[in-house]
């Protein structure tokens, strides 16, 4: 550890330069969001006189949509983990005959374009009265979370030693009890990873917001931004302030749950 830094600094400088290039768009929306309303388009390279009016406008116009996105995302996390955790446990630990078929089905879901789901759900939701509803969006948005959470959780739960579970059974715990008080606590990290990704998937969803809502009543922030740029191209500071606000969860989770994000990226893809 002591030798490496002395040799490594040139690489660090190159790395910082590359990162600065990659993250420039993020800097640029932050910069734009802090410009005054009028001259945004010719705004400087640096917000020397930060102006928060963009944020005020954004919160006034889009605050409700941010809350909607939060409700839908949290709902989807609860639903996805609630469905995925028991299924992942069964697929990992019980030797059931249909396991491979279920796993194949889960793999196939990854190939289904969202537009196919939206196409069919639109008419079904019209009949069921689920258009423009929180429940409708939560159910549709979980199409990303459920399969992903099963994949992540199953690959972790397979590594729980059988002896641990059998020991709990010997101690007299029922199946449900073992699941609740042994399997779930042991899988804490995998559960957090699955929750973080499900949250981000749902928060970022655009397609279902676009197709399964038709009125203002339930409008996620992504759709709010999309319609904002259509209508308010002269108020770029407010548009950009909204995009910054919509990026907060991603940035926050990157800081708080960094380890889980890297783990999710790799295990979700290869396993």
């Amino acid at each position: 550890m002591k030798r490496a830094p002395a040799r490594g600094w040139p690489s660090t400088i190159v790395g910082i330069a590359l990162l600065a290039l990659m993250l420039f768009p993020v800097y640029w929306i932050v910069n734009a969001s802090l410009q005054p309303a009028g001259n945004t388009l010719r705004g400087g390279w640096f917000p020397f006189h930060p102006d928060l009016s963009g944020y005020l406008t954004a919160l006034r116009d889009q605050g409700g949509n941010l809350v909607t996105s939060l409700v839908v995302a949290l709902g989807s996390v609860a639903l996805s983990l609630g469905l995925a955790a028991p299924a992942a446990y069964a697929l990992a630990q019980f030797r059931l005959r249909g396991t491979n078929l279920v796993l194949f089905g889960i793999l196939v879901t990854q190939m289904v374009p969202g537009i196919v789901v939206a196409n069919a759900l639109y008419s079904a939701y019209t009949d069921l009265g689920l258009l423009n509803s929180y429940l409708g969006l939560i159910l549709a948005d979980s199409t990303a979370g459920v399969p992903f959470a099963i994949i992540i959780l199953r690959s972790f739960m397979r590594s729980i030693p059988r002896e641990v579970i059998e020991a709990a059974h010997v101690d007299g715990a029922g199946r449900l009890r073992v699941f609740r008080s042994v399997v779930l606590p042991v899988s804490r990290n995998a559960l957090i990873t699955a929750a973080v990704f499900t949250f981000l998937f749902t928060w970022s969803d655009f397609l279902f917001a676009l197709t399964l809502t038709t009125t203002q009543t339930v409008r996620p922030i992504t759709l709010g931004i999309y319609q904002y740029i259509g209508a308010h191209t002269n108020q770029w500071n407010a548009v950009m302030a909204t995009t910054v606000l919509a990026s907060v969860p991603a940035a926050l989770l990157l800081v708080v749950a960094q380890r889980h994000l890297a783990a999710g990226a790799t295990s979700g893809a290869v396993k």
Partner: protein, 307 residues
């Protein structure tokens, strides 16, 4: 406690109950997947043979029209153009994401201070909502007021600026570049993971044999990374053919349909022209393409597991 003693006396029945209880863990998730993936797939196939339009929602009538939706789609100029755009968009995105992702992954193989911090910061573009990234790029690439053209003018690389989003040939290049930017972090993360799994001593052995960095990449890194590479590429294709958000936000399919892909076409047929039957037919074509790659993916995955 009669309910407890009965299973003991009848072991076959007890095993049956046991099985059933175990399946109850899977049933809710399986039911969800069937309702939200199985049903839509089946419904799409049925819809694609129907004249399913806005009137269907009022009258409930969706007459069967056989293959008419498919023949209409396949015959239109838009389809072949959208297909070509989809192929170019996917190929361009994948090649760019992979090459740059691999370069980043190799770079992060080095040991230097702040490596971990920089590597996780790199994930940010991938974590942002696509609508946010699309909006940021749309604004940066604006031909008149965008920062990219302003920089090009300031550096005297281009006096008039490049019509990034308004030129018919430039717009496709722009959305590909944006999608590459979005995909680099994911490629880097997975390829970096793959590189970390290669045993260090193999590099040392190659070095002892007199292999330079290029030779050790060709003979050590690449062959051992192959399984991960195939997974990354096929996953990339499967995810990229269905990309919709970026294109809708940045160009809306324009100018003059230059950035229409099969996915955006399907969206427009269904949700703007309310030709759900034709939209469904179009998205079924998309499924077939994805499925073809799914088979490749499964094979690649199996091979990866065997290695």
């Amino acid at each position: 406690m009669p309910s407890r003693s009965r299973p003991v006396t009848d072991p076959a029945r007890a095993r049956c109950w046991e099985r059933l209880a175990q399946w109850m863990y899977i049933v809710p998730a399986a039911a969800y997947l069937l309702l939200f993936f199985g049903y839509p797939i089946a419904k799409n196939i049925v819809m694609s043979f129907q004249q399913y339009t806005i009137t269907t929602f009022y009258t409930g009538a969706a007459p069967f029209v056989g293959l008419q939706n498919y023949s209409k789609i396949l015959a239109s100029d838009l389809f072949s153009k959208a297909l070509l755009t989809t192929v170019l968009f996917t190929a361009g995105s994948i090649v760019g994401q992979f090459a740059l992702g691999l370069a980043f992954a190799l770079f992060f193989q080095r040991r230097f201070p702040l490596n971990g911090v920089l590597r996780s910061l790199l994930l940010l573009p991938w974590l942002l909502p696509l609508v946010v990234s699309g909006t940021a790029w749309r604004w940066m690439l604006d031909p008149d007021t965008g920062v990219v053209n302003a920089a090009l003018r300031a550096l005297r690389l281009s006096s008039s600026g490049i019509p990034w989003l308004t030129g018919t040939s430039q717009a496709l290049v722009s959305v590909i570049l944006i999608n590459i930017w979005v995909g680099i972090p994911f490629n880097t993360a997975i390829l970096y993971g793959g590189l970390q799994d290669i045993p260090r001593h193999l590099y040392e052995a190659a070095k002892l044999d007199g292999a330079g960095p290029l030779a050790s990449f060709r003979h050590v890194t690449w062959p051992l990374l192959r399984p991960v590479v195939s997974v990354v590429l096929v996953l990339g294709v499967v995810y990229t053919v269905k990309v919709l958000d970026i294109i809708l936000v940045v160009t809306g399919g324009g100018p003059a349909g230059a950035t229409e892909t099969l996915a955006t076409q399907s969206y427009e047929l269904s949700f703007q022209q309310f030709e759900f039957g034709r939209g469904a037919a179009m998205s079924n074509v998309l499924i077939v393409i994805s499925l073809a790659f799914a088979i490749v993916y499964l094979r690649a995955n199996r091979r990866a597991r065997n290695v």
